[in-house]
Symmetry: C2
Subunit: 400 residues, 2 copies
Amino acid sequence: MLNKPNIVILGAGYGGMITASRLTKELGHNEAAITLVNKHDYHYQTTWLHEPAAGTMHPNRTRMPIKSVLDLNKINFVQDVVVEIKRDEKKVILENGELDYDYLVIGLGSEPETFGVPGVQEYAFSKWTVNGAREVKEHIEYMFAKYNNLAEKRDELLTFVVAGAGFTGIEFIGELSERVPELCDYYDIPREKVKMYVIEAAPTALPGFDPELVEYAMNLLESRGVEFKINCPIKEVTKGAVHLADGEEIKAETIVWATGVRGNSIIEKSGFEAMRGRIKVEPDLRAPGHDDVFVIGDCALIINEEINRPYPPTAQIAMQMAATCAHNLKALIKGGELQSFKPEIKGTVASLGGKEAIGVVGSRKLFGSSASFMKKMIDNRYLFLLGGPSLVMKKGKSPF
Amino acid sequence: MLNKPNIVILGAGYGGMITASRLTKELGHNEAAITLVNKHDYHYQTTWLHEPAAGTMHPNRTRMPIKSVLDLNKINFVQDVVVEIKRDEKKVILENGELDYDYLVIGLGSEPETFGVPGVQEYAFSKWTVNGAREVKEHIEYMFAKYNNLAEKRDELLTFVVAGAGFTGIEFIGELSERVPELCDYYDIPREKVKMYVIEAAPTALPGFDPELVEYAMNLLESRGVEFKINCPIKEVTKGAVHLADGEEIKAETIVWATGVRGNSIIEKSGFEAMRGRIKVEPDLRAPGHDDVFVIGDCALIINEEINRPYPPTAQIAMQMAATCAHNLKALIKGGELQSFKPEIKGTVASLGGKEAIGVVGSRKLFGSSASFMKKMIDNRYLFLLGGPSLVMKKGKSPF
């Protein structure tokens, strides 16, 4: 190339942000033009959203202006929505314009997986975004506030259903169950009026977690009043109710959908070969047949050879992919070897609200406050990787 | 009477609380048995509720446990709902029991006046209670939170209609309009998306107020984006819309009804002769033909001879009635002259949100921060009358 190459990064999630941040350090001003495209002018930490959704954290603590962490003298930031990727023309169509690229990084993140259950889009909360989390929180509080004003009490106002006992569902009900006594106190509601259900189609909660940890989590949540329905698929969601495959109907004005995610619909719309919106990438993270397109984060599919199943779409893997992606872009532009991506799972910790959590770090199982401590350290480590010590000071979580 | 007489006070509003408080001071333990009946175990200041309703004050600041201000060694407190007064049997029927009385004080407060407009009960917020205020606040915030999550934006989510430009309507829109910039900031909403209407059937806002003050208030509120529709009766409220007599329809998901109050329906149900739920009382505040029944506060009707119209149902008058009522009860029991009630209107101040207010104190007109200062002093004075300096310290408003 005669001119410096155009690198376009789509999405300012965990993957896109770390890629952009690394590239500004590894490539000089004259070596590449870097453009980052994102719908909002802020980045947010998806993995923290169960807290503002339940109302246990100010939503602004989960987000930051992009300009506050990336040097916008070195990166061209475009606030817009991606409509389609025209691979043959090496072009990205945005709602309000288009961008040419020499190298593309797709980090568009995920969408809720509904598994085709009717009514989810219409009658359940499924958006794990800042906007989505604020809506869930305000809806919950509105239901509490409304209850005492009705002449005939409707108990479904105080019934909360979480569909999915995976990571997100468990972390959300952990926060909510921790907050319920405070909500009852604030709104003059007898504690026993509040019902919480977690409904899971699989034969266990937290599939993939150590059974001892799963039992700890379930016992703890049950002690806070959560009722689990395991091995119990949902057939349909209607206005104010979930209908289970076994015929039971649970009336609930608040239904939170957390059965996992699929890749981004832009992937399929743009003609990439994909499985549930995810591209099975080459070892160097490029899309098969596309030397100029990297795919990272929840849009990338990588098989864990040990168990012959895909790695789960986590922030941890997205950040590791971003490091490899930034290295490989540098190699393509400045010369050098492309690396193969090797995920290194350092640990997984699920918070359960308050000072409670469970997790595995290395080969060690953690419970209670030591797991909660580790969870906060993991959250802070991400901020450190992204913005150094000052971002940890500003946005970090005190583990003490 | 051989035994000490039973005094039963219905309602722990401004009138009931001050009556109870005075009686414990003026009558000894052996001179009367005093019972106070109230739906909740707390007293609240109705005239402060526009603040928690708009979200500018914690709702608990507008209420206090009854036991924290009245000495329940001297007063028998019954938490129950009044169903009917059986005058001939000198008995009060409660939801969960009944009470015999020798003397009855009716201080049951008011109910919203709908003027027969269809749809108000179903589709508008009309309850000026702690529960009602919390519901309005949470509904407003839920609308803001919901807006950005809809693919097709519905502007009626951000349209707020107040029916009635009287005291309550103006004070509420004052708080809300003051808070809107903060709400827009919090929920990422462009300020111009929010619409606020105040709709009034009468030919002026704040009828009875000095025109110069009314103009000041309207100009101020308009500068914050409030649109007034004066001389504009509402024909009907439907789900998400108000229909004006002139044919216009305003779509709004939040409709707050504040067109004034009528007396309590228990009055009519119990067979008292009443006008819109209010009993035209004798000068000594007793119900005509009932030597044993006092009526105070919003259930009592007294004509202002100067203008040949009823005095408005205000906290100020309710408290003054309570003082006369307590004096007259003491006179009946211990002997002495019964007083005639003489309202003394010391002043009226309407808050407009933030540091703004308008009012008349004595013959002096007040605007802006001096009116706001006076409003806070009036609110504190009530707390002082009820619970002395310690209650002012605990629940009062800093005028500085």
